[in-house]
Symmetry: C2
Subunit: 162 residues, 2 copies
DNA sequence: CCTCTTTCGTTTGTCTTACTAACGTTGGTG
DNA sequence: CACCAACGTTAGTAAGACAAACGAAAGAGG
């Protein structure tokens, strides 16, 4: 009956949780995301940042000088949330906001030296967070997990935009 | 260079996202959790409920009459959030709250007929949400994903409590 | 029996993420 | 020129997670 089931350790921890939930992928996903978020938030907090800031800094680093709207599309954020995060990053001197001469609706956002340093700091801190997140998984399992998560995420981002 | 890499479809959707993020398990996880949460929230909303309500109803169904504190431990919720959710469920007639005669600090919470019906409704709606969440995955991948998520979640819940 | 600590239910409030609605400005199109 | 779309911005909301404090009650140790 349970020879193929979960390891002993698993049951010990999970037996106080309803079986409905334990078997539900969306629950496993959202609950594990809480831990993932906690781990990376702790990493960000040490540098006085949060998730939105990292998304914007890494987008700027990869795509160069772009408008706030593009920034939002790259990092999966709402325009209104981009405004707030860009404000905060500008106050910290991590980026600069200049009006686009070719389109006066747009603000061109560019990464500063300070922003690059902050990004590198966050990258390092995040690496450790990834390690503790995946700690109990073997290398091949980590790869398989990453592949499947990416596959699912691509599917849902595609179907949502259409 | 990319023969072993992601399928074409994947890149199409993801190419506007920083490579840093695409490769980061914690990002894939939290972003996919957004979709998982959206899908199940829509299912809940049709029945006038939300996640906290389902956690409590399913805990009551599996563990019978328990105190609010136990309810919180079963469904991974803070005591203060249990109070609010139990209030709302009581207003809807889904459960009853009676003082424990053996321990006057405790409230014993029990599921009503209405609550059981609501739970069955939510179960059905959630099943569809799971299907659309995992739609692009083959059956064996779904099983592998569920196994790994459970393994990771058990690990982090264990290490957090200690 | 009397402290000391713990547990319980409750209130209040904060943080992060996500998202919606509206507004004025500007660009592009028919 | 009229109309619509995009942009930046402000304001507000919802859900989930969590921290701090409170009085009331139970339990433990001396």
């Amino acid at each position: 009956m349970d020879s193929l089931a979960m390891p002993t350790l698993y049951r010990e921890v999970m037996e106080q949780t309803p079986a409905r939930l334990i078997e539900m992928p969306s629950w496993l996903l959202t609950q594990l995301a809480v831990h993932a978020h906690r781990l990376s938030a702790e990493a960000f907090a040490e540098a006085g940042a949060r998730g939105y800031h990292y998304r914007i800094l890494s987008s700027l680093d990869e795509f160069g000088v772009v408008s706030q709207a593009e920034l939002g599309r790259h990092s999966n954020m709402d325009r209104s949330d981009v405004v707030a995060a860009v404000n905060e990053l500008a106050e910290q001197g991590c980026l600069e906001r200049t009006p686009d001469p070719d389109d006066r609706r747009r603000n061109l956002v560019s990464l500063t030296k300070t922003g690059e340093e902050q990004l590198r700091r966050l990258d390092r801190a995040l690496d450790k967070a990834q390690e503790s997140l995946l700690e109990p998984l073997a290398a091949e399992d980590r790869a398989a997990l990453t592949r499947m998560l990416g596959q699912l995420l691509a599917h849902h981002q595609r179907t949502q935009r259409s």
